[in-house]
Symmetry: C2
Subunit: 321 residues, 2 copies
């Protein structure tokens, strides 16, 4: 077996593990449920035992492991390797995750923000291969993301960079839980799509397939809205288009600041495929300046939910390789 | 004499020349009027003769010159070293400026966008010294700027990066000559300050010191507005504050994406000093998220109009040093 790095992606539902060899090829993977109720100690134990299990299964000796990369939700203190807190696991407060996992495994370990790790994964092994400037947007409950310039994550001066979900797209707009108003993720996330549809149903009392869906499920998600849109539902089409129009505003601003080769679209909403990219490209072209021909490409991520764990392992290669 | 690089900053009014030694200290400077009416040939001739004159005056032998850096308005083709066009010199179309100046001087030469050069200048020798991520905003007729990450200009994948003046701060907002709507520079430049004041006078028929100034001069500039504001004029205060509030929106979006140590403010409007930074910091704090304590510093540029020529020379050091 050649030398590998271990990637560990800590999610609210699953902990993912992957081995990545020096050619950035996947050499093994494992997924375990996150024992969230067991608190940080239980989660850390699972991270250590899962990584050990994967190494055993693939017959990798400890001497062939170059390093471990962890991707975790944040905010994080990257320099200290500490999880300051995380929305989905409330007892994860000031946990020195890097050192506890690293010491447990006896392998040098690096910690990274999960969204940055996913961006690095797409850059190293996915849609972003060969780009010079790549921005990833992860469209889910919120809008996360990461920036890769010349092969390096642009983490910012204090490790809190690449929060494209909190670009201000409407001054004095809707209140965001972050404390700002008018953040992109309030206008262009999967949650925003569902919220627009509910608002149109409730406030305007308009006819829509979604009225029945909402009555039956008690809630709507972005996939419901896109499905109704595909079935010709006008209200659904309006909600979908509104979110995508704002997403295009964000993409134009990102393009003006960073001039990327590529903006990669991931997260749950990217499962809509062409239903996302086709109208997004149309709005992007409509909003884009005319000084220069449009060069930035908007494309879907290709690694799906594995981008984070692959990027975490890739980050270990960058750090220790 | 120690080894030096030559910086040449091509402006619409002046061509500036500077010698920068390896410690990034200024070792001589010269300024000549831009012979704009003489066309590209005349301008290039002045660039060559001015550089030669400065070397002679400072007693620098050709063997001690490491390289030449030119800062020019654009758009540019950086790879080819060509000025595609420039708003203030309409006959500058597809001019191979890098090679013509380099060949004329017999010294290796690199071309850079003037706003990027100014940002690099502030990073190397001005307010941005020692920063990890620095963004410069140049507040004049428009809003230009540059980004320096880990000592390198973030030029983008196609050399058209760092155009913060064209971040969209108002979707469907005012038409910008660039073809977009709602660009930051339509809302937060020195021109915007003056336009707001004129609009308030003309549309609302309000009392203001500026009514008399406008009648007398036939026009207003940002300095007039700030002066009236300092004299207690409410209309002027409103115009000034409106622009600065939008500038703060732009600064928050930049901070969310790049997490800079420092946003440096240059250009004509920065001559207002604390009258710019004090309200800008107040709006920035008001609009900034509460997830994290505010770490990005907003500060004035320190090199004034020399940032561009110093940065052009610094760029030659980076390229050839």
């Amino acid at each position: 077996m050649s030398r590998v790095c271990i990637g560990i992606d800590l999610g609210g539902t699953f902990i993912k593990f992957a081995l990545l060899d020096e050619s950035m090829s996947l050499a093994g993977a494992l997924q375990l449920p996150t024992p969230a109720s067991a608190g940080p100690d239980g989660v850390i134990e699972t991270m250590i035992s899962g990584a050990t299990e994967l190494l055993d299964r693939e017959g990798v000796s400890a001497g062939d492991v170059v390093g471990v990369g962890i991707g975790s939700p944040g905010p994080l203190d990257l320099d200290a390797g500490v999880v300051i807190g995380t929305p989905n696991m409330s007892d994860f407060v000031n946990v020195p995750l890097r050192d506890r996992v690293g010491d447990g495994l006896g392998i040098q370990t690096v910690l990274e923000n999960d969204a940055n790790a996913a961006a690095l994964g797409e850059y190293l092994c996915g849609s972003g291969k060969g780009t010079d400037v790549m921005v990833m947007l992860t469209l889910g409950t919120g809008v996360g993301g990461g920036i890769v310039i010349a092969g390096n994550l642009a983490r910012g001066a204090h490790g809190i960079g690449a929060e494209p979900g909190h670009l201000i797209v409407e001054p004095d707009g809707e209140q965001c839980p972050c404390g700002q108003r008018g953040c992109l993720e309030r206008y262009a996330s999967a949650s925003a799509v569902a919220r627009y549809a509910r608002q149109l149903i409730e406030r305007e009392n308009r006819k829509s397939i979604l009225t029945e869906v909402l009555g039956r499920k008690g809630d709507l998600d972005a996939a419901d809205v896109n499905e109704a849109r595909r079935a010709g539902d006008d209200l659904a089409a309006e909600a979908w288009d509104r979110a995508i129009s704002y997403l295009a505003v964000g993409c134009v601003s990102i393009t003006r600041l960073l001039d990327p080769d590529l903006i990669v679209l991931g997260g749950g909403m990217a499962k809509a495929g062409d239903d996302l990219t086709e109208p997004l490209r149309r709005h992007f072209t409509r909003l884009h300046w005319t000084i220069d021909t449009q060069k930035t490409v908007l494309a879907l991520a290709s690694l799906g939910n594995d981008a984070g764990v692959i990027g975490a392992a890739g980050n270990a290669w960058k750090q220790f390789g």
